[in-house]
Subunit: 465 residues, 2 copies
Amino acid sequence: MGISLNQERRIVIIGCGAGGGTAAQFARKTDRKANVSIFEKGIYPQYSKCGLPYVISGKIPRFEDLIEFSEEWFNKAKIDLFLKSNVEEIDINEKIIKVNNNGKYIEYPFNSVIIATGAEPAIPPIKNLSQDGKFVKGVGVVRTIDDAKKIKSLLTPGKKATVIGAGLIGLEMADCLYEKNINVTVVEALPDILSNTLDPDMSAQIMDQLSEKIDIYLNHFANEIKHENGVIKSVSIQDRESGVINQIPTDILVVATGTKPENSLAKKSGCRLGKHGHIIVNERSETSIKNLYAIGDCTEYIDFVTKKPTPIGLGSIVVRQGIAAGINAAGGSYSLPNGVLQTRTTDIFGFEVAAVGPTLSCFESENIVTGKFNGFSLPEYFPGGKSISIKVLVNADSGEIISAQGIGDKAAQRINTFAGAVLGRLNIDLFKKLETAYAPPVAPTLDAVTLACDVVSMKLNRKKR
Amino acid sequence: MGISLNQERRIVIIGCGAGGGTAAQFARKTDRKANVSIFEKGIYPQYSKCGLPYVISGKIPRFEDLIEFSEEWFNKAKIDLFLKSNVEEIDINEKIIKVNNNGKYIEYPFNSVIIATGAEPAIPPIKNLSQDGKFVKGVGVVRTIDDAKKIKSLLTPGKKATVIGAGLIGLEMADCLYEKNINVTVVEALPDILSNTLDPDMSAQIMDQLSEKIDIYLNHFANEIKHENGVIKSVSIQDRESGVINQIPTDILVVATGTKPENSLAKKSGCRLGKHGHIIVNERSETSIKNLYAIGDCTEYIDFVTKKPTPIGLGSIVVRQGIAAGINAAGGSYSLPNGVLQTRTTDIFGFEVAAVGPTLSCFESENIVTGKFNGFSLPEYFPGGKSISIKVLVNADSGEIISAQGIGDKAAQRINTFAGAVLGRLNIDLFKKLETAYAPPVAPTLDAVTLACDVVSMKLNRKKR
């Protein structure tokens, strides 16, 4: 690994996840002469973490299929990818990084560094979850290929699995385990599932159908694991209100209760961190330190609507931050919008769920009006219409559309339409008049998008009187 | 039919299509005391004309299924529906309409009238198409239930059908006939199919797949029918360039070459008409005559982007005009946006096709830049991704998104997202940064919507340099 002495720009990227890989590509495109290098502590080049549950379920055949860009690809793109390379320090003054390259110490010079170190699972305090610093056999998380391989190796039909956490990833895992004929129990500390994505009235709409397939304990936290010879046998969960404890026999326990940012390098370098340890970045993905960028799950930016600090945790945002950081680090100029929309979606137990912007509980003093439409995706007379539910949130003072939630047919694309409205700060008075595409086999004359807007608009007008 | 003498507002609607029916509903909602009456010359209450091809194909079982609101429904809603009632004159001065009610002459007073008389098929000059003022047996159009019943009665597998016109309705009919195992030929006078919806490069993308199922003659017009004993046997079509004539054996000929507005009442009343005879209306669906509104296929409004007069021909717009006219005629206030977006879609031969705004050929001197993305609806590693193609048109001077076209997976909902951008006059620099919803089973991190915007944005930036 030689250090070139000419005057090329040297861009160092730490971490080869979706963010790091994207940043490298866009740096490469922006400055074709720059030296672009990625240092990844693991053994895999860029792969899709979000795809892991679907290899566990068998929907995607092999873990290797998740690799989006191979070592050969990076080589062809003239991006130097160093695997098994743990960056131990960013020396801001000397402009070098210090790397443990598979046991070998090396220094590497840079003009700018993009930190894309991601996050690690946040593990709640469950008694006996680990022994000797390692999870008890049968306990796992879904963060890396190795994590997922461990879970997949445990699956045989009829086994019992418990998933802690009913967020997007927890329920995706529950769905994928269910697909493998595993008996699934989901335990959620909050009173609702998907509480970061849907308001309670929306998530309640799918609870019955989910409960037909899996057991769901809301308002419960897991407090202890029972194991025999280091193998999990059950998990005890406690009702947060009554205090009643339930013992759930469990062969496999998946913890999906969020993440904590991998911030050690940034911290050492003096980057400003947020309340929960995320690296604070701006619209250019710059940290508080010159020439230091950060992207992805280790960062926090602001929410587009509330302007409050928001940890980044969606692949869609990570990739967009990667575009910004890659272009900016390479001497170009790219700014993200003034906050993240957090457009998000999943497909669980046959329901497409999607949302953009904050849920209602994120607002305190704001004057918010909501409107909801439950109906069908096709005209009534046309066979095959599927259920669709759309909820819209509007700032009653400004009339601006601030968020939306959807469940059902093409919910994600319908929510993208609202994402455009939020991004463009469109007023409900205008947006409710949107002409949506109509043809009997495709959509009705007035789409659910429009009809939900009508409901909220009527409520707003009544308020004004 | 008594004439009430009290002081209620009297709203008369002429025509019970989707526009008239919607106007009646919204008039009813706006003024709960008003007298709302619909006069329909036909025998059916409000039904979906756009659904007719799908009853012909058998996808929708019965023609009666297309009835969206029955006589009982109108009765319950306290809307007086008079069928078989042909309005022969609107007396503006006396504020009465003169009606031929199934042979009986009646007069009916009004405060305002909403003309929703629709349109009739525009029949091209094809020799021998009619005998004694009637179509030759085997020739038909698809405008009314009776038209469609006639075509359906002719269908037996293996028969040969020719459809004149490769617009949305022509190709929907071709698809529905193909579904019935009819050998279908489509004849189009223009060099491309769907030329009002897609640019030639977009429509060319589906020509191969369509040509596997049906015969398509572009640049040809039909000039003569051959018949025996009043039954069609063939149609001769001529190449517009070479002049070569082809004889196409045909048992069924469907003419789908557009419509002409039913404007006779409006004309007699002195309403301003457009170049092709459409009733000119404004954003409140008002005609040039006070208290006279008009909506639907008999009208023209302006295009949102070009501001040029535009005949109305989409059910989605008709319904929205109905909302405006109904509310305004009943004393409320409702304005449509400053022009129609013409968001449109269809599903033909397995392709979802959609567009918003004008095609490229609608622009003359404007400085337009286009960008196109062809790709897949899911991440590469996820099985089941379907093809999606999106083309975006941007005004290079202002940066505004002015139109978009799509073919493939969820094209209509993706185009709705662009419709929002056009309506909100969003700039490509902002809109290309839209966070689209991502989850492996639903959509990739960068949706086709965003990637098409990236292409056009790059072209724009190159131009600016």
